[in-house]
Assembly symmetry: C2
Homo-oligomer: 246 residues x 2
């Protein structure tokens, strides 16, 4: 009998060219499809809830696939451990209805972005946070982040010239920036995210944190819907897909 | 005028064959000597406080070298950032007396060992902790660790057949194992450490944590001075040279 299996996957994206399968570069989707096929005894076609870019990480990527394999669902995480490289870990598995699709059924997602502020870099964080040489005003960043909560046209924070275009309106349920010691974490819980949206938001929030933009400037940029007015695209290594909700 | 410069160095050891320069494999000492030479304008001969093995990390390795270079000492960390790979960071620099030698002058060192206990591994910790699939009894590990405090013959925890032999007696000022969530950290502050001593201690402490040895067994092993009685050598990726005292 064919089953539809939903997996939760954590990965360190440093060694991969993103989640989505590519022709000439190794992606996490390809590794999952090829390695996990050994467990199920037939080729797999795996759908992911979200693309993540090169160098972007995940605690809670969600994928699904159909299988006629006989392995009990609760044995899948341990079996996956035996076939996957140690930078990709299956943390959960469950049987879902045949209509479930990891991307199409997703209702919302949480992304986190980590910043590390210190005059000198930390060698252990070089792949896991954006290093800032000075301490940003996290309260100002948090105040600016509040402005994106609700339904907005996020054109100001969408990557330009990205193939297929979809509408720019998304709903943000929560957005916060919090500091703990030298680490700043910005969390974004939204109905969906445009291409590079979190990284573009963070690049602009950091401008607020360093006083190059005021919170009012940030509001004007959001309302202006012009990507050229916003800040840089924050580097990928600070970004984590944390959780997908259905 | 020739100056003797002391540096504090943090590094992620995952990509290196230890600290000490080798003929056919890349070591941290070699990278420091070759890259830092660019700042000082002449070849450098760098002495390190401690050898660390392949895959072992450091927050506070200490090195020294003599130079006729003119760069102000307080500019060295930023200049080093420009020439070193991003997994090696110079976190401090100071002028010291011509008689200072990073290894010979060291009075004591702190090593830390990190364990991560969870049924499944964490992809972000694979290079930075020893993954245990079950939760050890940290209180028992801590009680056993207390037994090594003071002056002891540590032959039971010394690697066998290691070239030049030195005496096996060392003084441990403190040894603790503490748990925070799924992480266990064992810290060892001692006058000196034999080859593989921390990793052999941790391998044996984990036997205590899983009930394969009692705390009393651990005391017998320490007193027995026979390496064959102790536990396995814990893997390198959990070990950190934390601080060197002079």
């Amino acid at each position: 009998m064919e089953r539809n299996i939903k997996l939760t996957v954590a990965y360190d994206g440093a060694a991969y060219h993103g989640f989505q399968r590519q022709l000439n570069a190794l992606a996490i989707q390809q590794v999952l499809e090829e390695r996990m096929a050994k467990i199920f005894g037939h080729p797999l076609k795996i759908a992911g809830a979200a693309r993540t870019d090169t160098g972007v990480h995940a605690y809670g990527q969600v994928v699904n696939f159909f299988t006629t394999g006989s392995i009990p669902t609760d044995k899948i995480p341990q079996a996956a451990k035996g076939v996957l490289p140690d930078d990709i870990v299956v943390t959960g598995a469950e049987d879902v209805s045949p209509t479930f699709h990891a991307r199409l059924a997703a209702k919302s997602k949480i992304y986190s972005y980590r910043l590390y502020s210190s005059a000198l870099p930390d060698p252990f964080l070089r792949r896991y946070a954006w290093h800032l040489t000075q301490n940003p005003d996290t309260a100002a960043m948090d105040a600016a982040a509040q402005l994106i909560v609700g339904e907005h046209d996020f054109s100001a924070f969408r990557a330009v010239s990205r193939g297929v275009q979809v509408g720019p309106v998304r709903t943000m349920f929560a957005a916060t920036c919090r500091q703990q010691g030298r680490m700043v974490e910005c969390d974004f819980w939204g109905s969906g995210f445009l291409y590079h949206m979190v990284r573009n938001l963070v690049g602009t929030l950091v401008d607020v944190g360093f006083g190059r933009l005021s919170v009012a400037d940030f509001a004007v940029i959001l309302a202006g819907r012009d990507r050229r007015m916003a800040g840089i695209t924050a580097p990928p290594q600070g970004l984590y897909l944390k959780e997908v909700f259905y």
